[in-house]
Every structure is written in C-alpha cells, then in structure tokens.
Point group: C2
Chain length 340, copies 2
C-alpha cells in the first residue's frame, strides 16, 4: 500500500480527497461541503441535532479496531441518537484530528467507513473540519435529522403503567470488548499467537461495527405506534433507564428473565466469569433502543420480531428496580460510563 | 481555588454543572441539552451549519491562552462562519475532550467563556458531549444559523467588475501570536521575567479573544446590501481570496496600499522584521469578512466606517494578483494554514 504523508497533501488536498465523491441524497440539503457552512432546508419539519466526540485510547483502541469500522461506528452512534428521537437522520458533519502517525491512506480508510454509513443510512455528509493533532486520533460527528413535531419522542414522556420495551439483544458489545481486550493482551505477551476470534462474529461485530435501529423507527411509522418515551442504550440499560425515569419523573421495574441476551453473549460471558445479566444491565455500547409504550399498543409489538417487553413504568416513589429470576427485588444503579 | 478531580464528579455530574444555567433565547430552540438530540424549528428559514475542531498544541497554547478566552474563541470562530453566509447564528453544540490534567474548575472556566460568547451573540447552547482524553484538550463546536434562502451569500457568486471589500483590520492576530510566542520563549528561558504585553491590548486581543463580525451582517440588512460572495478570513486574506475566486471561477486584484493594517500591527510587525503587508496577506485568524459587492452598492459602504474596498474581481484568466504600492503586479499565493 502506498503511504502518502499528510503534510505532502496539505489540508485542502486532504479535504478534496475526502469529499470528492460525495453525492447528496436529501432534497433538504441545499449546500453541502465547500462553503463556510452547509445549508439545510427543513421546511416545516423540525431539525434534530446530535453530536459525539470519539477519542483514541478512550473510545477505541486501534490495536483491534479496523479504521473503516471506526469511521462507520462514529457515524452510527450519532444516527442512533437521532433515531432515539423518532426522527430520520438527514445530514452529518465530521471533524477529525490526526497526528502524523496516520497516513493519507489511513484517513481515507476512516472516511470509507463514514461514506459507507452515509450510504446505508441515507444521510448526507455536508461539512466538517480536518486538522492535525500532536498525538492520537479524535473524531467528532454531528448529525441532523428531521421529524414532524408531533412525532418527536423525548426521554420525558413515560407514564405510570406504560410498558418498557427494548430492541435487539443486550450485553453483546460489552462481552465482545472483553474478548478483544483479552486477545490484545495475549498478542502483546505472545505475538506469535493468532487471535482466537472464530465463531465470535456476532459479539465482535456488536462492538466494532454496531448498527443504529433505523428499522425500529420505520416499524413505528408503519404500525402507527408512537412511543411515550425513548432513549438509545449507549451507557447500558440500567444507566439509560435511570436517565429516562429521571426525566419522566417515574419509577420502573424490569424483569430479569425478560432481558434479551443472545446465546453467544451468555456463553462467552460465562467464559469470562461475568453474569450475563450484569453484562446486559451495565454493558453499554449496544445502541439498541429503550422505549416505553402505552399498554394499548402492546398488541402491535407482535408485528416486529426484534422488540421485547421487559418491564413496566411505576410511580416515582417506587424507585427503579430489577425483579430477579430468583424472586427478589434489587434496586438498579448506574454502573455504565466506562468508555466516556 | 478548589480543585475537584473530574473523576470525582463523573460525566453526568460534569454535564449537570456545565449546563445548569443555560437559558434558551431563540424561539426556534424547541429542545436543548438533555435528550438524545436537540430540536430546532427553523420553519421556513434555511438552516446553516458550521463546525470546527480546536486541538491543544495545534490551534492554541495554554501557556498563554486563558481558558475562558479559549472557550469564547472556540464559539466565535464558528459564528464567524455562519455570518460569512450572511446568516444569523442561533444554536451551537459543544463537545470537549479533557485529560485528567484539567480540573473541574478548569473545564468550568472554558464553559464560562462559551456561555459568555453565547450571551453576547445571542445563540443557544443546545447539546454536546464531554469525554476524557489520554492527553490534551480538544474542543469541537458546531454552529447552526438561519437565513432566508434568497439572502444566503456563498463563496461562488463573485462576478467580473465586483468590488472586493474587507471588514476591520488585517494581520493583527498573526502579529499578536508572534508576540505571545516570543514572551513564552522568554518566560521559558527566564522564568523570573514578567511578560511585556503592555500597550499590546489590540493585537493580543485579536489572537486571544477575536470577535465575529455580527455588526457587518446587521449593516448589510439595514442598508439593503447583498454581497455577491463572502468568506471569513481564517487562513489569511490571500488564501481565502483564492478560495473565493476558485469557487466563483474569477480572477482578482487587490491594491497593497488599500490593505487595512492597524498602526499597532504595523509597528509591532516591524519590530519582528516582518513586512506588515505579508502579515495582512498571510496572517490568518483575523476572522474579518472578505466579500464582494456589485459596484452600484459601493456608495452604501460609506455608511459603515469599518469596511474598506481593497480591489476588484477580474476574468479568471487574469489570475489573482497584488498591485504593489511600488507599481508592480505580483501573483498572490496561498501561504496560510499554519495553525490547521
């Protein structure tokens, strides 16, 4: 592979390289990259904005993160926030700071992942900033989305008696991360050994190349369900449920036996001597959607295979609890936030 | 001063601290900080977006940059981009990555500057991300603005015969930076000496606490002038004029004798044995507005004291030239971009 030094290309050369193939897909994008600012026409729709900063050594480890996956994930985690508002993402801006350790090819590989995510989720890259750094890689993504005002779902709308639902499976990203960390340690100590990632596609994929739940938002639209509240699970079910309850001023209980945990996650968690329930409650980075619905919409949940009802909203005074499989009640606490 | 470790407060405690006093000022801000994403209602106005990433050691040196000024500047440089579209900035998001070298008080001081800029420019802080970093400080700001579609000014609208105008004075930020760098070297070599910044308020202010030219945009509105093209001067007059000409597919000449250089800038530049013209052409970071007008609007420029006509747009084939005070013609080249 050719190695071109960043300094040989210069900032404008780099921007030119990274943005030359952008095709704008949204009618609302009046002007994309190339001016002082992008221009978006959201007409009578509401504009929804989310932003995330990913820092090398804190949010990702390049020892086991392919650069293209990293670019892809940086976009997806932002889109997940837009979907968590029941909105449709339409545009992103991407800023990136790189040290001279990175070649043009490396930065281009990150952008390949960014462009792929844009293509798959139908969003336009409309601007950004590229700069050097003294050390390491930092990626900042801001996503904009649109929604009709009366369809926007906040964290604050949950009411007593609402059912708590979650998409997909939980804990996979966390167990996948443990696996990657272990293989990295083995590699450091025994560089001659090959990583043992066979048959770990699902959990490794959950941490390295997560997807945002666009399909769930489309399901809401098709089946005319409007969740009463919603949040995406980035810090962990427990921590994010607490956020939702605090903002809705309610309590909640969830049933341990209803927690959706994929078999591969459970098996691998046991290998690491981690209780699967702990991984599902506190794991984080699953980017699934946690939402509440009015009980009259429960029937409609049958029409999607990938949503499970895991608990119920209660009075604030009841607190936020886990009903364990053994019949006990344990208060839920926030243990997430290790990667932020 | 108390020192609270970031880890003792935690991410959510920090967010709570940094966002508790936010008062939303724009009717278009439907939802600010505290959900997965902010919600902005731009009705029939167009949304304009700009983003910048500021990296310690690349864009700023904390040896001479007060943290409050840094926060202020991080916002202002983004607002400058929005004004350069002839738009009104309405909201910003701010993401920040800090190492444990920074205390809560330090981060709070940065936000004091951010909040002050929001107050002075009438924009709402509506979201962001805070995270740790292994080393150094990174700030990413995204600004949104609004404008009527037919009032948005792009870089691409300059026509042959248009007059080239610039707001304020040029080169001050660059000379101010040289001064700060020199004082830093003296301090490193002779820590007992006090910095000699007396009577350097203007140029030091230009680099440490620049302002965005909101007043010029307001002048355009009041006097019913619509520039044919516009860009803010962040990389240097020469480099940014080249951008504008490339996108407008035109040539240009500017008159050396018309370049607006403040006396303090000239005097100090000579101290450093730097030709003032070079500082004005290639200095960068002045955040003044460079724009072109139809000659029929030239009369109206008399009504603002702080805009000067410095040249004229020509055919593309004529190139981009400087008419020197000595009567020579020199091709302008891009020499900016040392801080990006």
């Amino acid at each position: 592979m050719t190695r071109t030094e960043l300094k040989d290309l210069g900032e404008f050369g780099l921007i030119e390289l990274l943005t030359k193939n952008i095709e704008l897909k949204n009618k609302s994008t009046l002007r994309g990259v190339g001016d002082d600012a992008a221009v978006v026409d959201h007409g009578n729709k509401k504009t929804v904005i989310s932003t995330d900063l990913l820092v090398e050594g804190i949010h990702f480890d390049l020892a086991y993160t392919p650069l293209k996956h990293l670019g892809y994930k940086a976009v997806v985690v932002n889109l997940s926030d837009i979907y968590a508002m029941n909105a449709r993402p339409t545009q992103i801006t991407v800023s990136i700071a790189v040290s001279n350790r990175f070649s043009v090819e490396a930065v281009n590989e990150i952008y390949n992942g960014i462009h792929l995510a844009c293509k798959i989720y139908g969003v336009d890259l409309i601007g950004g900033d590229t700069t050097s750094s003294l050390q390491g890689l930092t990626i900042s993504v801001t996503a904009l989305g649109e929604a009709d005002e009366d369809k926007i779902v906040y964290r604050s709308g949950a009411k007593e008696g609402d059912l708590i639902c979650v998409s997909g499976f939980l804990g996979g990203a966390y167990v996948g991360l443990q696996l990657l960390e272990r293989e990295k340690q083995i590699y450091i100590e025994h560089p001659e050994m090959q990583p043992d990632l066979e048959n770990k596609d699902y959990i490794v994929g959950k941490i390295l190349k997560p997807e945002a739940r666009k399909d769930i938002i489309e399901f809401f639209k098709k089946s005319e369900v409007l969740p009463t509240s919603m949040i995406d699970i980035s810090d962990g079910l427990s921590s994010d449920l607490i956020h939702l309850c605090m903002q809705s001023k309610v309590g909640a209980f969830i049933e341990e036996k209803s927690l959706p945990i994929a078999q591969e996650t459970s098996v691998k968690a046991m290998d690491f001597k981690l209780p699967p329930t702990t991984c599902a409650l506190h794991g984080g980075e699953d980017y699934e959607l946690l939402f509440t619905i009015n009980p009259r919409d429960a029937e409609k949940m049958k029409y999607t295979l990938d949503v499970r009802i895991i608990g119920e909203i209660t009075k604030s005074a009841d607190g936020i609890n886990l009903h364990t499989s053994g019949g006990n009640i344990k208060e839920l606490i926030a243990q997430g936030w290790q990667h932020h």
